[in-house]
């Protein structure tokens, strides 16, 4: 049992997230992380699961944090909300950052709050100048409040808006250029959205400013159909599909090696399955490094 009540003054060794494969840390795997320190290069948590005042969840993360580089991935800040940011929530996130000292903090290019109601999903934005202005303003405020650069993730989506005037990839790149944020390139989301909305995922990859990408996500999705059209659902409930691994290879080749995170949220399997997926992501990174060395040698 983890003891509760540790003072909040712990200084962690700086442990930056390395250019290697990591996994999402989920509560059901706490025991194994406390007991065995499984071999994985870094961990990512959902920020909103750790904004409580106390209890064993925080104490456990503090113990695990001593041994792993950490990334805090937020799902609730609603950076795309026209009504602006929830500053109470920003304060909670700042406390989390101060306490756990993650080297990466990320959020989404989406919205969740309207009229003060929190809708608990990553909802799509219309890609317009107005939405871009709002998003950029909110990201700038968030980065100021958190005292660090934030990585913004491209979302998966199921609907588009008639009023959109900017391709998603341009909207994404422009967000980073104007706000000074970094990008979290989710290649599964690129694939899911490209199939749902009928574009070539390479159009997205080719437009992403590689130097601004600080992290890559891979995850599983499920396939469905409606009236003969594919509808892919980004449910993070299964192994990464081959098409997404292939897209990861292409992305790495284009933008260079980055920290890669394997996400799994629904129907969580045994930790070994997650570590196996992370090993595949690591192999993709290793293969890239080997290929680059060969190029250097040839030159």
């Amino acid at each position: 049992m983890t003891s509760v009540g540790t003072p909040l003054t712990t200084e962690f060794e700086s442990y930056p997230v390395p250019v290697a494969a990591g996994i999402g840390l989920r509560h059901i795997h706490f025991g194994e992380f406390l007991k065995d320190q499984p071999g994985v290069a870094w961990l990512e948590v959902h920020s909103e699961n750790y904004v409580c005042p106390g209890g064993s969840r925080l104490a456990t993360l503090e113990t695990i944090r001593r041994n792993y580089p950490l990334s805090c991935h937020g799902v609730g800040l609603s950076l795309g909300s026209a009504e602006g940011l929830d500053f109470e929530h920003l304060k909670r996130l700042r406390s989390l950052v101060d306490r756990f000292q993650p080297s990466l903090v990320s959020e989404h290019m989406s919205w969740s709050t309207a009229g003060g109601v929190y809708l608990n999903d990553l909802l799509p934005l219309p890609y317009t100048e107005e939405a871009l202005d709002i998003l950029v303003r909110n990201i700038s405020q968030a980065q100021e409040a958190l005292g660090m650069q934030v990585l913004i993730e491209n979302p998966s989506s199921y609907v588009t808006f008639a009023q959109s005037t900017i391709p998603e990839w341009e909207f994404c790149a422009e967000t980073a250029r104007r706000s000074g944020c970094g990008l979290l390139l989710d290649v599964n989301n690129v694939y899911v959205s490209s199939r749902n909305h009928g574009y070539d995922p390479r159009d997205f990859l080719n437009a992403v400013p590689g130097a601004l990408v600080g992290e890559i996500h891979v995850a599983g999705h499920s396939d469905s159909e409606w009236d003969g059209h594919p509808v892919l659902i980004d449910d993070h409930g299964s192994p990464v599909k081959d098409v997404v691994w292939n897209l990861l290879d292409e992305a790495l080749e284009r933008i260079g090696p980055k920290p890669v995170l394997m996400e799994w949220d629904l129907n969580l399997p045994a930790l070994d399955v997650l570590l196996g997926e992370a090993a595949k992501a690591q192999a993709a990174l290793d293969q890239l490094v080997a290929a680059n060395k060969m190029l250097v040698n040839v030159a």
């Binding site: 049992m1 409580c52 309207a114 608990n120």
Partner: protein
């Protein structure tokens, strides 16, 4: 305006009309299906949050009934903030007004209150508990003037139903349960406990929580229950960590 679009989108996710459809690109019928994916994500994830906070109610009413209760609750009381560990505070009050549920299971709202207190205790701030040895050096005459504070995770609850028997039950009791019970919900360390208190002990703890001295609280406890015994009650609370480590004597306050 983005603000109007988001208001319509949000209202539609929690309701069922399709006003936002005109703003979507692509086929109207297919969009209705795709929009449903968002609605399903929201209702399924929040139902999961409620299941985790109210595990006994979930077990007792069963999956299907719980989904009905949760869906109504989510539509009527959607979350107001991103930290979902605080989502469900209104569930007990909502159940009171839900005739279908309380008609057959009148104890449901109070059981929800116990489960919510357990949920709150789990995430509440950490604090050191008062240990028996902390009081060892005190002059016995001073003891009556002690003022003890409850641990931040402590919650006291009195119910007209046997909530201590019901909490954690895995089948609906038959015949319907009867009898009042008082409980203390507490998380002094990692685990939350739910303890059955005697009527005198409950009044005693409640009096301490209200800021009364140990002596005055003991008198209140004895008034509520003839066989209330201060040493037994205090020993029990010290053993389980009911109080904060810090305490004062009323003399010090003067």
């Amino acid at each position: 305006m983005l603000r109007d679009l988001q208001a319509a989108f949000g209202a539609e996710l929690l309701g069922s009309d399709m006003r936002v459809s005109a703003a979507l690109g692509g086929d109207r019928m297919e969009n209705a299906h795709r929009f449903g994916i968002y609605r399903n994500n929201i209702f399924a994830s929040l139902t999961g949050v409620l299941e985790a906070a109210f595990p006994t109610i979930h077990t007792l009413v069963g999956d299907e009934n719980f989904i009905v209760l949760a869906s109504r609750f989510i539509a009527e009381h959607p979350p107001q903030e991103p930290p979902l560990y605080r989502y469900g505070a209104d569930f007990a009050t909502f159940l009171e007004d839900f005739e279908l549920a309380v008609g057959e299971l009148p104890f449901l709202p109070d059981l929800a209150r116990v489960e919510w207190a357990v949920n709150e205790a789990y995430f509440e701030a950490d604090a050191e508990s008062l240990q028996p040895e902390d009081l060892a050096d005190l002059d016995p005459e001073d003891c009556g003037n002690l003022q003890l504070t409850l641990h931040p995770s402590a919650r006291l609850m009195s119910s007209g139903w046997p909530v201590w028997d019901l909490w954690g039950a895995d089948v609906l009791p038959n015949p319907s349960p009867e009898g009042a019970q008082q409980v203390l919900i507490l998380r002094p360390d990692a685990e939350v406990s739910v303890t059955l208190l005697s009527p005198g002990d409950f009044i005693f703890a409640q009096a301490l929580a209200a800021g009364m001295t140990l002596g005055a609280a003991a008198t209140a406890g004895a008034k509520a229950e003839e066989c209330f015994d201060l040493a037994t009650a205090l020993g029990g609370h010290l053993g389980r960590g009911t109080f904060r480590a810090e305490f004062t004597r009323t003399a010090e306050l003067a």
